[in-house]
Symmetry: C2
Subunit: 197 residues, 2 copies
């Protein structure tokens, strides 16, 4: 196997390193979503991922490195999944966009976001990360909705939709808000349809 | 003065007790907004309010009592301010509603909300509090917007507007999002106007 992969891509050592990194990132996201920032340390994540603390620190020297990388990693996976969505009507696209804000990624990002508001070390990194992820999500949403941003109000319609999705995500953190959310999304999808023309 | 107030309402002792309670609640909200749940204890709040720890515990036996009461207290002040708003056009009402989610109360409530998602002791109390505050805000919004909830879609329009306001509040936690928010609110206020008829 080593022979087959040599010269055709990363060797087994890099593969292992990459797999370790991925395990750490996924464990970090679950940890953040379940225990919040206060309960999330490199040691807890290393144990959860079945990786030594030393190996974890080799990949991510600081706690801030690990958790911002984790949220970024899952945001990228999510963007890839969105880009792969089939072409469908706007109501389905609106529902798919809102769904992004009700899963473990949103919970993890929310924990990091709120922690960053009180921690000076975390704040600039999370601010930069959120701006980047926000721009990318906006770009994907514009494409999926076939929205023409040259028309007045269209850009703000898409932005407001993503703001609403974030607020719906927050409403789903303590309770299962699915039934109410479906009704709200159906109504606002119709309003977005009218506004986008 | 003691003689004047006797029999006509609470005496000076109750007045003092009420003033102490108010100081503690206001200090608790600021503390939560600035330092998050992890940095918010009864001792920190008592010191900030200039009250002894014993007196603070007399009013609020547990940390959970103090902080849920604090968020509820400011939510009630906010509802009273909303109810006192003059009758004005819907665009102004939408802007006033969104403003509720960008101040220190929202920051404090957000910290409590997110902490409750990881702390079993806090969760049922914050869930119940948020449901109560949410219903009250919805009721006030319906009145201010002169929205007729018997018409299909109207209830969900108002709900989605408050969800969007919450999402806009979240977007304002790490950075000053005022300029973007104004543009989004102008566009969505027009969409709400169309939907409410």
């Amino acid at each position: 196997m080593g022979v087959v992969t040599q010269g055709r891509g990363p060797g087994p050592k890099q593969d292992r390193s990459r797999a370790t990194r991925k395990r750490l990132l996924e464990a970090a996201v679950s940890c953040l979503a379940e225990h919040g920032w206060a309960g999330s340390t490199v040691s807890v994540v290393a144990e959860r991922a079945g990786v030594s603390r030393g190996a974890a620190q080799h990949h991510f020297p600081t706690r801030e490195d690990l958790f911002t990388a984790a949220v970024e990693y899952v945001a990228e996976e999510r963007s890839a999944a969105l880009r792969a969505l089939p072409d469908q009507d706007r109501a389905a696209v609106v529902a798919a966009l809102v769904d992004l804000y009700t899963g473990p990624l949103f919970r993890a990002a929310l924990q990091l976001w709120v922690a960053a508001s009180n921690e000076e070390q975390l704040r600039p990194r999370v601010t930069e990360l959120e701006a980047r992820v926000g721009r990318e999500t906006h770009r994907i949403a514009v494409g999926l909705l076939h929205a023409d941003e040259n028309r007045p109000g269209v850009r703000e319609t898409v932005q407001g939709l993503l703001d609403m999705a974030r607020g719906l995500g927050l409403a789903n953190v303590l309770t299962d808000d699915t039934a109410r959310r479906r009704r709200v999304v159906a109504q606002w999808a119709a309003m977005v349809e009218d506004a986008l023309g």
